[in-house]
């Protein structure tokens, strides 16, 4: 502590006070404690995930049984109970937006990053606690705006999560809500990422050099850089689209556009492809924002439950960094069909093939860690192990999409939907669930139920593959994405039985989440109490303190003596924070 104390001799002036003296609203609503903010992010994100999932469950009815009234609740949405094409489009656009920007990212970055990163670097809070508070509330407002759009005249945005112009520019008011909501979400991410990077770099405790960072800290820092540098172009693009919609400019509107049989009265001369460039310049790095925190979580859980150092830790870290860099120069692989010319497409094909190498290296280091270890099959470990093949399927199916020759056939089909859902759903989301089970004792001092956890796991693995595996076949059969009713086409009608099967699996998946939600809610009070502060035998700094941690995280000074995952010859953990020969 000696080195620390003199550095913050002014600390008492601007520190944000003692936990128990605060009124309720300062302690739980407008708290500056990173742990409270992390939980706020987590709870809000889970709510949005369930909401977005619910939208999809309704859409799956229309997909399985086109133009039939939704039983029981259909009348809430339309007069005849059939999900109308307009609503279908709104639900689809909002499902994507909510899942990505309001669900998975806030859970992976906002919740896990906020809660664990300061603990894992041995800090008492984030570097800028008030900014942290602000990030959460800006995110919250963005979410409220998105939800409010459902109640605006003509409903929510309906142009997909990608919001391609010119359709999105001539669309109804919901799109304006979408754009304003996005500006809030982007601002929140920017504030959050500055905070993350500064905390990780500046507030490291003594002895915690970069190459001793746990893999989750590395993943969060690289993620933060992606958010920091990739989101502003989308913010710019969002402002331009707002101008197009509100001020009548033509940034994304070409000349001679005809809408519903009438020439659009705008100056024209704009470029719709420009939006796609700006959008994908964010949205490709964004997919790594979705996956990297998950990769970090899985790494932590595998190390603890194999009681082995992560195989090739340095290679793993360099791969994550390299992945981060490369993710900025692959974006146009989403745009091969825009007629970009051979030179451009060759370049983006090449970079796409290159970026899959570090992904494979990451997977390989985890697999080699498992090899020859005696695995402790806790519930989080089950999810972490399942993550590996699921992420592999998702990643490998991306390769044919990255090559123009095959992408011409697969682009805009269900195959693409299958690809990215494998990486995001049984990939990222499984990892995030693993994280919830793993750090629940840290947060609450109690375990989640093992039995319920196993039920949740096995039902989910089976159901989720039932939802997404058939999508590859449907896509290869030529069924396009974003179709309201594919049975109007012969090839779509032939594939329709798959849709029915997928819908049943989706509803089963929903049921499978009930034990999880019940488990999360009730274990808080009634879960089995932990016997020690470090129930899993973790080696990283978050286990150096009480579970749950006190307001200031560490009551005694901590110091780091070794790398993040070290074990003695008889597999006894050698925590980073314990000084020992």
């Amino acid at each position: 502590m000696s080195q620390d104390t003199h550095n913050h001799s002014h600390g008492h002036d601007h520190s944000h006070s003692v936990g128990h003296e605060l009124p309720f609203w300062r302690k739980y609503i407008f708290s500056t404690d990173h742990k409270v903010i992390g939980l706020q992010y987590g709870i809000t994100a889970v709510f949005f995930l369930l909401f977005g999932f619910g939208l999809m469950l309704l859409m799956r009815w229309q997909l399985a049984f086109p133009k039939q009234a939704i039983p029981l609740i259909g009348k809430l949405f339309t007069e005849d109970g059939v999900l109308s094409p307009e609503l279908y489009n709104q639900f689809g656009a909002m499902h994507g937006t909510i899942m990505v920007f309001l669900g998975v990212v806030p859970l992976g970055v906002g919740a896990f990053g906020n809660y664990l990163l300061p603990l894992q670097v041995g800090a008492q809070d984030m570097a800028f606690p008030k900014l942290n508070l602000l990030s959460y509330w800006v995110y919250f407002i963005g979410g409220v705006i998105m939800l409010a759009s459902f109640f605006s005249p003509n409903g929510a945005a309906a142009s997909g999560w990608t919001s391609y112009p010119p359709l999105s520019v001539v669309a109804d008011n919901g799109q304006t809500f979408w754009l304003i909501g996005m500006v809030f979400l982007i601002t929140s991410s920017l504030l959050g990422s500055v905070n993350t990077i500064v905390t990780a770099i500046q507030l490291r405790v003594k002895g915690l050099s970069f190459m001793r960072w746990p893999v989750l800290v590395w993943a969060q820092v690289v993620t933060a850089f992606l958010l920091l540098l990739a989101f502003p172009p989308l913010e710019a693009a969002g402002v331009l689209q707002l101008m197009d919609r509100l001020a009548g400019t033509s940034f994304f509107l070409p000349s001679g556009l005809v809408v519903s049989g009438e020439a659009l009265k705008v100056s024209g001369g704009g470029n719709p492809i420009l939006w796609q460039h700006l959008f994908w310049f964010l949205a490709h790095p964004e997919v790594y924002v979705l996956i990297l925190p998950a990769v970090g979580i899985v790494g932590e859980i595998i190390a603890v439950n194999t009681k082995k150092p992560l195989y090739g830790y340095k290679t793993l870290i360099y791969s994550i960094i390299f992945l981060g860099f490369m993710s900025f120069i692959v974006w146009a692989h989403h745009m091969f069909m825009t007629g970009m010319g051979v030179t451009m497409s060759t370049f983006f094909q090449a970079t796409t093939m290159i970026i899959s190498v570090p992904s494979i290296i990451i997977l390989t280091t985890y697999l080699l860690t498992l090899w020859g270890s005696s695995i402790r099959y806790t519930v989080p470990m089950l999810f972490a192990i399942a993550f590996l093949p699921m992420f592999a399927i998702g990643g490998l199916t991306g390769l044919p999409l990255g090559l123009t020759a095959s992408d011409i056939h697969l682009h805009d089909t269900y195959y693409v939907i299958g690809h990215f859902h494998y990486v995001v759903a049984p990939g990222s989301l499984f990892a995030l669930m693993a994280g919830v089970y793993h750090w629940y004792p840290k947060i609450t001092g109690r375990f989640m139920s093992d039995t319920l956890g196993k039920i949740h796991f096995w039902l989910s693995v089976v159901a989720i593959n039932g939802v997404f595996m058939p999508m590859f076949f449907m896509g290869m059969a030529g069924v396009s994405r974003r179709l309201y009713d594919q049975t109007i086409y012969a090839h779509g009608a032939a594939a329709q039985p798959l849709n029915v099967f997928m819908s049943y699996c989706a509803w089963a998946l929903a049921v499978a989440q009930l034990p999880f939600l019940y488990n999360m809610a009730t274990s808080w009070k009634w879960g089995k109490k932990i016997e020690s502060n470090n129930p899993w035998g973790g080696t990283t700094l978050e286990w150096a303190t009480a579970s749950p941690p006190p307001h200031e995280n560490f009551t005694t000074p901590v110091e780091v003596f070794r790398g993040p995952y070290e074990y003695s010859s008889n597999k006894k953990p050698l925590p980073q924070f314990v000084q020992e020969a």
Partner: protein, 199 residues
């Protein structure tokens, strides 16, 4: 026990910067990407445009913009002087130079106001052409950054300066960050000026 966050006023000996300074550099990096995207938009739209003024000076008021450039560059100097005054422990001089900075930035906005209203007077709106769309959007966003800077600087000059008594080093650090931000706003204008008015 209360929460203690180190390196608020003194630099971290390993990285050599305070938290705020690292933070502001990261923030500026994201701002570079924001304006980078807008400048790319300008280049892409212009290179395919059918009706773009041969020179910005044909439609825009170069003398006024030149005056504005002078205003902003001078304000960048005065904000450095205000920081230097704090280094020399002179709060009054700091306030004087900060006040000048704010005055010059108001000058910038007033001139911008005249420029805009003369455009509106001639019925030139963002919807008129792609050139005007770019012009209004980019200078408008830059103007918002100027307004943000004015608010920050006024705060630091007024109520914010109380910190000088309790934590002088931390306060000086804040002024340095405000200065870095202001230089950035200035720099964006230095790119905007030729890109829109001259070329």
């Amino acid at each position: 026990m209360s929460v203690i966050i180190p390196y608020i006023d003194k630099p971290n000996p390993v990285t050599g910067v305070t938290n705020a300074k690292l933070g502001i550099w990261l923030f500026l990096a994201s701002e570079v990407m924001l304006f980078g995207a807008l400048f790319s938009t300008l280049i892409i739209l212009r290179s395919s445009a059918t009706d773009w003024p041969a020179h910005g000076s044909d439609v825009l008021n170069v003398p006024l913009a030149t005056l504005n450039t002078v205003f902003l560059i001078t304000s960048s100097v005065t904000i450095v002087l205000s920081w230097a005054s704090l280094k020399m422990k002179n709060l009054m001089k700091f306030k004087l130079h900060m006040g000048l900075t704010v005055l010059l930035s108001f000058g910038f906005l007033i001139i911008k106001y005249f420029e805009y209203s003369s455009k509106f007077h001639h019925e030139h709106y963002p919807s008129t052409s792609t050139f005007y769309a770019v012009y209004f959007t980019m200078t408008g966003l830059h103007g918002l950054h100027v307004i943000g800077g004015i608010i920050t600087n006024l705060y630091l000059m007024g109520p914010g300066s109380k910190m000088w008594k309790t934590e002088p080093e931390r306060f000086t650090g804040r002024i340095e960050c405000a200065g870095l931000y202001w230089h950035f706003v200035d720099l964006v204008w230095i790119f905007l000026f030729p890109a829109l008015y001259l070329l």
